[in-house]
């Protein structure tokens, strides 16, 4: 989105303008530092573990990035992940069909997103409040549906493979993530609906005047966001091999933190999927590094918090620098 501006300056300007370059540098520095502490960090198995484990957050992050670009947010995805997992496992147990189970999980995600979107656009409830309410509704509903974990009675290998299998050397969740990521990278940057997301989040009134059906676009983005979270929920339930009603606690905050770290603005109109990918990888690498370095695990929360503050600070500096470059 900064292509026209970036052409005005040299390498230094590009570095200032492209938040992603700074983020990649941060990721490289952190990875190098951990690698100095322990050689296990850069082993193939650890890198694949990090990618497999990050894939759920990155998939949810694609939806969250698009939603934040429109100026909205969704705090209900952690509870949705739990509910989708429980429903998917239960339906597969009852029907012995992975297809029906996955369909039910994705359907639940789509309906949740639709309700979130309608509450925001038709009832005019702020999405922060509306999705907190949805978070409570979903968490309560999953306990009403099943009080205890739904075990895997079907023992279908296909389902187990979704979260735990490999295609060649690559974990299947990573492949799912890469496919979705590439498709939505193209949609976001190379299609009209993608550009409309930025226009809506940047200036909603101007977007309406220019003929964009803002409400419909937002509803669609809420639905997409929840379907992405549902896909993460299906991968998670396969990985755990049981549907846990208490799963996904704090998942939404982790995803939003990574997306913000990646440079997406909470105010809307700004953000990139590349930033989201790197932001979420940074958080995952920190968590992984602290454990394999055998540091105190409480540092995971502290360091992640500090990194987010630092990222927002750098982002603010970058915006000031950009405005100066553009005006000169």
């Amino acid at each position: 989105m900064f292509s026209s501006e970036s052409s005005k300056g040299g390498l230094l300007t590009k570095l200032v303008l492209f938040n992603e370059i700074i983020l990649v540098a941060v990721l490289v520095v952190i990875s190098a530092a951990i690698s100095i502490g322990t050689s296990q960090f850069y082993s193939t198995s650890n890198i694949l573990n990090i990618l497999r484990d990050s894939s759920m957050a990155i998939i949810a992050g694609i939806g969250m990035t698009m939603l934040l670009i429109t100026g909205e947010v969704d705090l209900s995805i952690g509870s949705l992940v739990a509910f989708v997992g429980v429903v998917t496992m239960d339906i597969i147990n009852k029907t012995n069909s992975v297809f029906l189970g996955v369909l039910a999980g994705l359907g639940l995600g789509a309906v949740t997103g639709l309700v979130n979107g309608l509450v925001r656009t038709k009832f005019k409830v702020n999405s922060l409040i509306g999705t907190i309410a949805m978070m409570m509704i979903l968490r309560g509903s999953v306990y009403l549906y099943k009080l205890e974990a739904v075990q895997n009675y079907h023992q279908l290998e296909t389902f187990y493979s979704v979260g735990n299998g490999y295609l060649g050397f690559m974990p299947i969740p990573v492949i799912i993530m890469v496919v979705l990521y590439v498709v939505f990278l193209v949609i976001l940057y190379r299609t009209v609906p993608g550009r409309r997301l930025y226009a809506t989040g940047g200036n909603e009134i101007a977007a309406k005047i220019s003929g964009i059906k803002v409400d419909n676009l937002k509803i669609l983005t809420f639905v997409a966001n929840s379907v992405f979270a549902a896909i993460s929920g299906i991968i998670l339930v396969s990985r755990m091999n049981s549907g846990q009603p208490n799963a996904g606690v704090g998942f939404e905050l982790m995803v939003i933190s990574g997306v913000i770290l990646g440079g997406t603005s909470l105010g809307g109109g700004e953000g990139t999927l590349v930033g989201t990918l790197v932001g979420l990888l940074i958080l995952r690498v920190i968590n992984n590094g602290i454990i394999i370095l055998r540091w105190n695990q409480d540092l995971q929360i502290v360091i992640s918090g500090l990194i987010i503050i630092l990222a927002v600070y750098i982002d603010n500096k970058r915006k000031v620098a950009r405005s100066k470059i553009i005006t000169t």
């Binding site: 755990m240 846990q244 799963a247 394999i292 695990q297």
Partner: protein, 347 residues
């Protein structure tokens, strides 16, 4: 006429005898562990959607039904103010005995004072509160210890006598720290050189336990014992072990709690989940009602009444539980025979 009077008398006698017999039977049924039973007992639980408390409730309900006690149950659901308000409501409604599972130990002291002022016998379930008369709770350290001994015996017999442990803890909660410490102490009575390779915070959740265990196994996968401070922790770590493609034949898993059916399923699968440091939540509920009767009768009660814990294995779990579909049933005869500690090994 005379015949009619005789028949009437006979009928009356039969009716009177039947009434006396029925009343006697009723009295017998209403006899508690000793003496009279309270008519109404109230319980203000906490976070009762959790399967542990669902099973505590089940045991409480079963014992109350056996004794003919009316049981009223409310859930504070992590809200201290709500707990105080619910406790006051139950006292105002005239319950004979009150049971609470404190949301916060400091906040629950107000309920202890209120119950004393009103002369209502009060039982604390799970965690001690200042000024309380009695608490019904398990011993976390001892439970972990028993799991450690049973796991050690398995390691000695089947895994070459060396133990390298990945423990999934929840260090925010003192009971979980005690369980892990107890497990290691118990394990070392059988395997003196048992080593704790990873001690991780899995937050008591399966997805979190899975993630941290995955990372830890990258750092060092040479472990042959997994211990979880609850069942979800143990099962999450086991899932990480499986996903890492490690040899399950060289592993033993011990979970703690037995709060739901998950450990039974894991044991039935025939995999490495061989030991459960069981805490019998149903028995906690059962004993809360027994203690209610004792307090109601003015008996002297211990400050901490310890409920049973026991190391279940793949060989003996079905002596204590049976599972039909999703419904599990406890074998009261065997559970009530488990020896109990007078006090915990560590607090």
């Amino acid at each position: 006429m005379k015949k009619l009077i005789l028949i009437s008398l006979a009928i009356l006698m039969i009716f009177a005898l039947a009434t006396v017999a029925f009343a006697a039977a009723g009295e017998k049924e209403k006899e508690g562990p000793a003496g009279k039973v309270p008519a109404r007992v109230g319980w203000v639980g906490n976070y009762m959607m959790h399967e542990w408390y669902q099973n505590v409730w089940k045991g409480m309900r079963q014992r109350a039904e056996m004794l003919g006690i009316e049981l009223e149950v409310l859930d504070a659901n992590l809200d201290m103010a709500k707990q105080v308000s619910f406790a006051e409501d139950l006292i105002a409604k005239g319950v004979d005995v009150l049971i609470i599972t404190p949301v916060q130990q400091e906040g629950a002291a107000a309920i202890v004072k209120k119950a004393k002022m009103e002369g209502i016998p009060l039982i604390i379930e799970a965690s001690a509160v200042e000024g309380m008369t009695t608490m019904v709770a398990i011993c976390d350290y001892d439970c972990g210890y028993k799991g450690g001994v049973a796991t050690g015996e398995y390691v000695k017999k089947n895994l070459g006598g060396k133990a390298r442990v990945m423990a999934i803890d929840l260090p925010m909660l003192r009971p979980c720290i005690l369980r892990v410490d107890g497990f290691m102490d118990g394990l070392r009575t059988v395997i003196p050189g048992a080593e704790i390779v990873h001690r991780l915070d899995g937050q008591g959740l399966k997805d979190q336990a899975l993630q941290v265990s995955t990372d830890a196994l990258t750092a060092d996968s040479n472990i042959n014992v997994i211990y979880g401070c609850n069942d979800d922790s143990a099962l999450g770590a086991l899932q990480a072990f499986k996903a890492a493609g490690l040899d399950e034949g060289k592993l033993v898993v011990c979970g703690t709690g037995g709060e739901g059916n998950a450990f039974i399923h894991a044991m039935q699968e025939g995999g490495p989940y061989k030991v459960e440091a069981a805490m019998f939540p149903e028995a906690v509920g059962y004993e809360c009602i027994n203690m209610s009767v004792k307090l109601f009768n003015g008996e002297t009660v211990p400050e901490h009444y310890v409920t049973p814990t026991f190391a279940l294995t793949t060989e003996n779990w079905d002596d204590y539980y049976s599972l039909e579909g999703d419904v599990r049933s406890i074998n009261w005869d065997n559970v009530n025979k488990i020896p109990r500690e007078d006090q915990c090994g560590k607090y």
